[in-house]
Amino acid sequence: MTKAPPSVLHCHDTESSDPRRSGFATAMIAACSENRLPQGGAGARAMQDMRDEVSRIVVDAQRREKLHAAILRYEDELRTFEQTVLEFQEILHALNSDPGASADQFSDLISRYEVERKAARARLLKIHFDLLGLTTEDEWRSIAKREAKLLRAAADPAGMRTTRS
């Protein structure tokens, strides 16, 4: 399983020494590591649709098994990165609430987040190409609709409030 590196997003003035934050992150990661993506929502349904479609159309058992494993890695990457975003957002809000925060502090935080995002994106793209390599063109045509649906579900402007839930 492809694992993301530990987050490099730290508190600006205390680096990673804040026990509340690291404790929170550890708890969240631990909680997430024991579960698949939450059921419900267009995204979760689209992931399940991908799995179902693979089961339905890929006859070769060996390839089917590898595809399911790749989809799980895909899901794990999304979950891990989701944690990074939540952590980044929390630090960003705290920095914003500081009336003395400087532009350099924001730039530094955003730069570190961007490094993580691009690394995670590269890992996800690798999994995407693993999926491509395990499917025929006809199979992919059907499976890809589910992945695109996942992406387009995100572009739906409804319900955009960014909150922990």
């Binding site: 929502g41 899901e75 809000h93 695109a148 995100a154």
Partner: protein, 137 residues
């Protein structure tokens, strides 16, 4: 970001944070509040007429910038989705798409931060803490 929105995570990851769902997300992601909420609360806090006018102006400009971001968002998402659906796609095909997303993200962050600091100038430190209560980073 709601924890069940794996699709949103995907677009944030593949695409860009601030273009993730709507340009409005830029300010919301930074502050935790929408421009509408910021306007309402800031105008409740600030009594000075000149500063109130400046606050309204900053937020109006912000909303105009956001609309521009939203205009290109759907087109970029469609382009990325089309690439993901292709079986013959090559890794290098994604490079210009990602580069465009990354450029847009950098611009959106810059615009949002500029808005943030312009707004900050209109409030005292105490008023800022009242508008955006929260711990130190």
């Amino acid at each position: 970001m709601k924890r069940s929105q794996s699709g949103q995570v995907l677009i944030v990851l593949f695409g860009t944070l601030l273009m993730g769902r709507s340009g409005l997300a830029a300010g919301l992601f930074l502050t935790g509040k929408t421009s509408k909420e910021i306007r309402k609360e800031a105008l409740t806090i600030v009594a000075d007429e000149h500063r109130r006018a400046e606050i309204k102006k900053v937020l109006k400009n912000w909303e105009r910038e956001v609309k521009q971001l939203d205009k290109t968002r759907q087109r970029r998402v469609d382009g990325l989705a089309a690439l993901l659906e292709r079986h013959d796609v090559q890794p290098e095909d994604f490079e210009p798409v990602f580069a465009n997303f990354d450029k847009a993200e950098a611009e959106a962050f810059a615009t949002t931060l500029e808005m943030r600091f312009t707004l900050r100038e209109q409030l005292t430190a105490e008023q800022w803490r009242e508008l955006f209560p929260g711990g130190q980073p």
